[in-house]
Amino acid sequence: MTAIPLRHAVIEVADAKISFGAVKALDGVTLRILPGECVGLVGHNGAGKSTIVNVINGGLSPHQGTIACAGEPMQRYGIAAARANGVRCVFQELSLCPNLTVIENTRVMHRTLTGWGWRRRAARIIGDKLDEIFPGHGIDPTGVVSDLSIAERQMVEIATAFSQVAQPVKLVILDEPTSSLDASLATQLLDYVRRFVEAGGSVIFISHILGEILSTSDRIVVMKDGKVVAERPAGKFDEHSLVAAMGSVVKGRHQEKRINDTAGLTPLLSQPSRRGKGLAFEAFAGEIIGLAGLGGHGQTDTLIDLYLARTGSWLRGRDAEVAFVAGDRALNGVFPLWSILKNLTIADLAGLSRRGLVSEPAEANLGQAWKQRIEIRTQDLGNPILSLSGGNQQKVLFARALATPAPAVLMDDPMRGVDIGTKQEVYAILRAEADKGRTFVWYSTEMDEICLCDRVYVFNNGVIVAELKGDSVTEKNVLAASFIGAAA
């Protein structure tokens, strides 16, 4: 008897409903993941993507609905059951322990690594997997995680999820895996995802970068307001129809760029060439300046140096010269105990206070104005900041910087985890503010964003190796410049 093996779904969530208070995070979502397919999951911030991911990895129990693994309905589904069924998750908020080494973090995720010589075995497992996914990664498994850059941490986390110790890995959930990776690392990851899927594994792939969703997924699920609003094979979507399904209108990408004649003007910000090599950094009023190049090549350090050199640690000057938008939210952005409002206003308390006392009505007005301007999705700005989804937290950090009177805003890859609709709104705000004379210095790992800038400095190995202006800011030129060595 030659029975065709019945293809059970790796996991099947039927009619899941979850609400947090009055907010319906999931409103009857049904999702089937078959073996050997990559499912792309897209939607705006707060559409319910992270919530459905948490249901699948066992972190949240739906208030209604069923979960079945390999065709068998699960009565008690939790984190342990999810792992036993081969479900792994790479979180949007990185979840490594910063004080432990890479090896020890591997052990934390893989409890079966016990007994004599587990360090050696763990080092081999994680090292091999890193080599397999990201050839030439240069990460030392015996190093402490806090010494790694955010991109390297993301790589370790991805490799940990894909490495197989006891149970076979059947389904890996990648929640914004490329958000801190530069183009070449992202390509390596996406290639690996395809190899993994062709070998019979399944992947749920969440990203706001539609190009990679379209090129990597077999099937795309679009979510909006806690519901699945469209589900089609990837070939039936293109970028326009995908954005339309998410409920946004694609705006024209080509905006007016300004090429300012800066000769003879005094720069607003300037920094001599780093370590005596490469070009010097200069920023003039009203410019949007991009910092490009492969991730972790000194862009963030440049921003932090610019910031620290212009703000005092002992006294606060009357008017801050610069404001900062953090990319690594948990490390240098969010104040976790506070409400959304207090997080938003902390950088501009001087403008909201008289004789040292904070004016609460003025603070509330500022909060309301920004809530409407960039649509922070919450009913009450008094809610804790951590009640917001990652992208909405990022919007609050944006508002924090833009609300200050600082003439220059430094942005450290700030669009990580922000949906396409909001991105477009923020782009428009940036352009409008720049026209009013504000300067933006913008490090981004996304080429589309770099191409929006008036002028771009390209980094390699910690120094600025090239400067591109106006129409010469193109993907091709930036990529070519990323590999130029620094002139002494």
Partner: protein
């Protein structure tokens, strides 16, 4: 019902519940005879814990690792030097207070200089500083017990409309501390630093300046407390601060301030300080021996912290 629920979420409520329960238990035992005396004594002695507790609270709010162990030595030095300066002369009472405050400022500057310049963790820096300060107190005092000026001694031991004067001083300073913490830019800054020092720096907060002011503030409050306590107890003694080392930390913790920093409240310090005094006097009333008394005090403190532990630290 709703009011009860929202009250039970306030981190400071538990210290008041505990203090009230112990108060009632003591009063019932004595048949109500000591109600006024016990209440006045509790307010008087609590006032001293409140003063040092508020200072310690500001420091603890700065986040993990921040603590001022120099509080007892500062109290002793300020009390000793101020009394010696006043020389039982009523006209020197206010200049004496200024001297005490100046000592607080100096100790605070010393503390933060050690922390910042030598990169020593606060727990070690303030402990080392306390040896220096305590030795200075021994050197100035030379074992003599100097009496406070008459008017100051009367002020610290008398009551106004039934409330001890020192409790009124503590009340005024508590209200100021509350305004400082909840309403001012400085209060926001220390709470921000306590949650994430890197995020605070990148939000434009002058981190070093704010921490420096906080350590100085804590030392000033300890110095004022030492000045009042020395006057209250009829003279400065070299060991007068010793019980306030643990006391200043205990009232902060029992009062519901987050030990991890970033979240603090003034009201809880009052409940906790009253509670700490009342527990001891309750056990005294019951005639418990010194050993039993210490064990019971420890157990009751643990019980209060456990009961209050169910609160949500994210509630603000």
């Amino acid at each position: 019902m709703n009011i009860l629920v929202s009250l039970s979420r306030k981190p400071w409520i538990w210290s008041f519940v505990a203090a009230f329960a112990v108060w009632v238990a003591t009063i019932l035992f004595t048949g109500g005879a000591s109600t006024i005396g016990l209440s006045q004594a509790a307010l008087t002695f609590a006032a001293f814990s409140i003063l040092v507790g508020i200072g310690q609270m500001f420091v603890i709010t700065l986040g993990p690792g921040n603590i001022d162990l120099c509080v007892p030595a500062t109290m002793t030095l300020a009390g000793t030097v101020a009394l010696k300066f006043m020389q039982v002369d009523n006209s020197l009472i206010l200049p004496g207070l200024v001297v005490a405050i100046a000592i607080g400022v100096a100790v605070g500057i010393g503390n933060y200089a050690l922390i910042k310049l030598l990169q020593i963790p606060p727990i070690i820096a303030t402990l080392s500083m306390s040896f220096i300060v305590q030795s200075t107190a021994i050197w100035t005092n030379r074992g003599l017990r100097i009496k406070p000026p008459e008017a100051l001694a009367t002020f610290t031991t008398e009551t106004t409309i039934g409330i001890p004067n020192v409790a009124l001083v503590a009340l005024v300073l508590s209200v100021l501390a509350f305004i400082l913490l909840q309403k001012t830019v400085y209060g926001r800054w220390i709470a921000a630093i306590g949650q994430s020092i890197r995020a605070a720096r990148m939000a434009g907060i002058p981190v070093d300046g704010t921490r420096f002011v906080t350590y100085v503030l804590c030392s000033i409050l300890a110095a004022v407390c030492g000045y009042l306590l020395a006057s209250f107890s009829g003279g400065a003694a070299l060991n007068m601060g010793s019980e306030y080392l643990l006391m200043s930390i205990a009232v902060v913790v029992i009062g519901g301030t987050a030990v991890a920093g970033g979240n603090s409240n003034v009201a809880g310090i009052w409940g906790a300080s009253l509670f700490m005094f009342l527990v001891v006097s309750m056990l005294n009333t019951y005639g418990a021996g010194a050993g039993i008394r210490l064990i019971m005090t420890g157990l009751i403190i643990i019980a209060v912290i456990v009961v209050a532990g169910g609160r949500n630290p994210n509630q603000r």
